[in-house]
C-alpha cells in the first residue's frame, strides 16, 4: 500500500471516529433530554434533588467521549504535518503530557488544557505553513484558501474547547472566546466559499454521477 493510500485510509478512519463520537454525544444528549422530560412529571422532587444528580451523571458519561473527541481532534491536527510514524510519536507525547499534567495536579481539566494547548500550538504551525504555501501540511480539501479555512476553523474549535475547559472563570475568558469565535467563523467562511474570494480560481468540478448502482 503506498503512502498516499495509507494517508487517505488514516484520514478516513479519523473522520469515521469523529462522526461516531459526535453521533454518540448526540445520542446521549437526546436520551438525557427524554429522561428530563419523563422525570419532571414522574419522579417526585426531581427538579429540586434529582436534576443535580442527572447533571452529574451526564458529565460522567460525557467526559470520556469528550476526552476521546479532544484526542481525535489532537490526532487530526498533527496528521497534517507529520508522516505516520512521527505522528504516532507526537500524538503519544501530547497524550503523555496531558496525562502527566492530570496526574501531577489531580485535575482532569488541567490535563485536557495542556493537551489542547499543545494541539493549538501545532495547529498554529499548520496554519502558518498552509498560508505560506509550504508543501508539508496534508488536507482532504484542495486550494490554499480552503486549506487555510479548514486550518483556521479547527484552530477556532480547539480554542473554544480550551475556553470551556480552562478559562470559564478567568479574566481571559471573553477575549479568548472572541478570538476562537472569529477564527471559527472566518475559517468556516473560507472553507465553504473560498472560490468566491480567490484571485486565481482553481476549482475542481467533480462529475455528477448516479447512485443507482451503489
Amino acid at each position: 500500500m503506498n503512502e498516499s493510500v495509507r494517508h487517505k485510509n488514516w484520514d478516513y478512519a479519523l473522520t469515521v471516529i469523529t462522526v461516531a463520537l459526535l453521533g454518540s454525544l448526540g445520542v446521549q444528549s437526546f436520551i438525557g433530554t427524554l429522561y428530563v422530560w419523563w422525570a419532571t412529571d414522574t419522579v417526585p422532587g426531581f427538579e429540586l434533588i434529582g436534576y443535580s444528580r442527572f447533571v452529574w451523571w451526564m458529565n460522567v458519561i460525557a467526559a470520556p467521549q469528550v476526552v476521546a473527541l479532544v484526542v481525535v481532534m489532537g490526532l487530526c491536527v498533527p496528521k497534517r504535518l507529520f508522516d505516520r510514524t512521527l505522528l504516532v510519536a507526537v500524538s503519544g507525547a501530547m497524550l503523555l503530557a496531558g496525562l502527566g499534567a492530570w496526574a501531577f495536579t489531580g485535575s482532569l481539566a488541567t490535563g485536557l488544557a495542556v493537551y489542547l494547548a499543545l494541539a493549538a500550538l501545532i495547529q498554529a504551525a499548520v496554519v502558518v505553513l498552509t498560508v505560506a504555501g509550504a508543501r508539508g501540511p496534508s488536507y482532504l480539501t484542495e486550494g490554499r484558501l480552503v486549506k487555510t479555512g479548514s486550518g483556521l476553523l479547527h484552530q477556532g474549535f480547539i480554542g473554544f474547547a480550551f475556553v470551556v475547559v480552562a478559562l470559564q472563570r478567568s479574566a481571559f475568558m471573553l477575549p479568548a472566546f472572541w478570538i476562537a469565535t472569529a477564527l471559527t467563523l472566518v475559517g468556516t467562511l473560507l472553507a465553504f466559499y473560498a472560490d468566491r474570494f480567490a484571485f486565481r480560481k482553481r476549482v475542481r468540478v467533480e462529475a455528477d454521477r448516479s447512485f443507482a448502482e451503489e
Binding site: V19, L22, L25, G26, L174
Partner: protein, 321 residues
C-alpha cells in the same frame, strides 16, 4: 410616568395590530392550503412558483406590520425606577420571540424559496409543503397579530399595575423583574443576533432536507451537491448563533445547570449532527457513502424539529414552560 395612560395606549396598540393583522392571519392558512393544492395537482404545478411568491409577499407585508408594532411598543414600554423616578430605559422586544418565532421561520423560508435557482422544479414542491406547515403553525399556534407577545405584555402590564399601586414593596419587586428582563434578555445584543441567525439556518436546512429527499428519490449526486450548498449556508449562522450564546448563558444563567438542559442538549445534538454530515460528505466518492450522508441529513433535520419543539416540551433553562 403615568401607568394608566401607558396601559390605555398599549391596549389601543394591540387592538390596532389585531385589526390590521387579523385578515393576514386568516389569509395565511388559506394560502397554505392553496400551496398544498398546487403541489398535489400536477397540472397546477407551473403555478407553484407564483404561489410561493404570493406567500413571501404576504409574510413580508405582515412583517412590516410587526416592525411597526414593535417600534410603537418600544416608544411605550418605558421602565422607571421607583426609587429615583428616573427612566432606566425602554424595552426593545426583538422581532422573533414568543408568538413570532414560527412566523419568522416561515418568512425566512419563503424568501429563500423565491431565490432557489438550482433544481428549482424538483425542490419547490417539498419546500412549499414545509412552508405551508409553518404558515399554518404561525397563524393558528403563534397568532402574532391577535395574541401578540403574551409573556412580555403580561409582565409589562403587571409592572404598570404595580407602579400604579403605590405599594413600595410591590413596585420595587416588579421593577426589578422588568429591569432585569430588559437588560439581560430583550435588549441584549445576543437576543438580536442569536435567534435570527438560527431561523436563517433553520430555513436553509429545510431546503437542504428537501434536496436530500430528492437525492434519495433520484439517486443522483447532483442533488447531494444542492443539499450540501444549502446546508453549508446554514451551518455558518448556526455555529455563530450557538457560539454567541455561550458568554451570554454564562452571565444570564449563572448558578443554573444550563449545560445539560433540554433545549441546550438538543441544540448541541443538532449542531453535532450537521458537523458530522459535513464531515461525512467529504467521502461521498466512496461506494454507498451517499446512503450515510442521506441518513445523517434526514436525521439532522428531524433533530432540528425536535430542538425547536424542545423549548415548549422539556423543562429547564431556555424553556417556555
Amino acid at each position: 410616568m403615568n401607568p394608566a395612560a401607558i396601559q390605555a395606549e398599549l391596549a389601543q396598540l394591540v387592538n390596532t395590530l389585531a385589526a390590521i393583522g387579523a385578515p393576514l392571519q386568516v389569509l395565511m392558512p388559506a394560502v397554505a392550503v392553496v400551496l398544498v393544492a398546487l403541489v398535489a395537482v400536477p397540472a397546477w404545478r407551473p403555478l407553484l412558483r407564483a404561489g410561493i411568491g404570493v406567500s413571501a409577499a404576504l409574510l413580508l407585508a405582515g412583517e412590516l406590520v410587526l416592525v411597526w408594532f414593535h417600534w410603537r411598543l418600544y416608544d411605550l414600554s418605558v421602565v422607571v425606577s421607583p426609587d429615583t423616578g428616573a427612566v432606566t430605559g425602554r424595552v426593545a422586544v426583538p422581532l422573533w420571540v414568543e408568538s413570532e418565532k414560527l412566523y419568522v421561520w416561515a418568512l425566512a423560508l419563503a424568501l429563500m424559496a423565491v431565490f432557489i435557482h438550482r433544481h428549482r422544479d424538483e425542490l419547490l414542491p417539498g419546500v412549499a409543503v414545509i412552508l405551508a406547515v409553518l404558515m399554518v403553525g404561525a397563524a393558528l399556534w403563534g397568532k402574532p397579530f391577535t395574541e401578540p407577545l403574551p409573556s412580555f405584555l403580561s409582565q409589562y402590564l403587571g409592572y404598570l399595575q404595580a407602579m400604579a399601586s403605590g405599594d413600595p414593596e410591590r413596585m420595587f419587586g416588579a421593577y426589578q423583574g422588568m429591569e432585569s428582563a430588559r437588560q439581560f434578555y430583550y435588549n441584549t445584543v445576543y437576543m438580536w443576533v442569536h435567534p435570527p441567525a438560527l431561523f436563517f439556518a433553520y430555513a436553509t436546512f429545510a431546503i437542504s432536507f428537501v434536496a436530500t429527499l430528492v437525492m434519495v428519490r433520484e439517486r443522483h449526486s447532483a442533488f447531494e451537491t444542492t443539499a450540501y450548498r444549502w446546508a453549508r449556508l446554514g451551518y455558518l449562522p448556526l455555529t455563530a448563533g450557538m457560539l454567541l450564546g455561550f458568554p451570554w448563558a454564562i452571565i444570564a444563567w449563572q448558578g443554573e445547570s444550563w449545560w445539560w438542559s433540554g433545549k441546550v442538549n438538543m441544540s448541541i445534538m443538532m449542531w453535532l449532527l450537521y458537523t458530522a454530515l459535513l464531515h461525512a460528505r467529504l467521502y461521498l466518492r466512496r461506494r454507498g457513502m451517499w446512503k450515510w450522508v442521506a441518513a445523517l441529513s434526514i436525521l439532522a433535520f428531524l433533530v432540528l424539529l425536535l430542538t425547536y419543539l424542545a423549548t415548549y416540551i422539556v423543562p429547564g433553562a431556555h424553556s417556555y414552560l
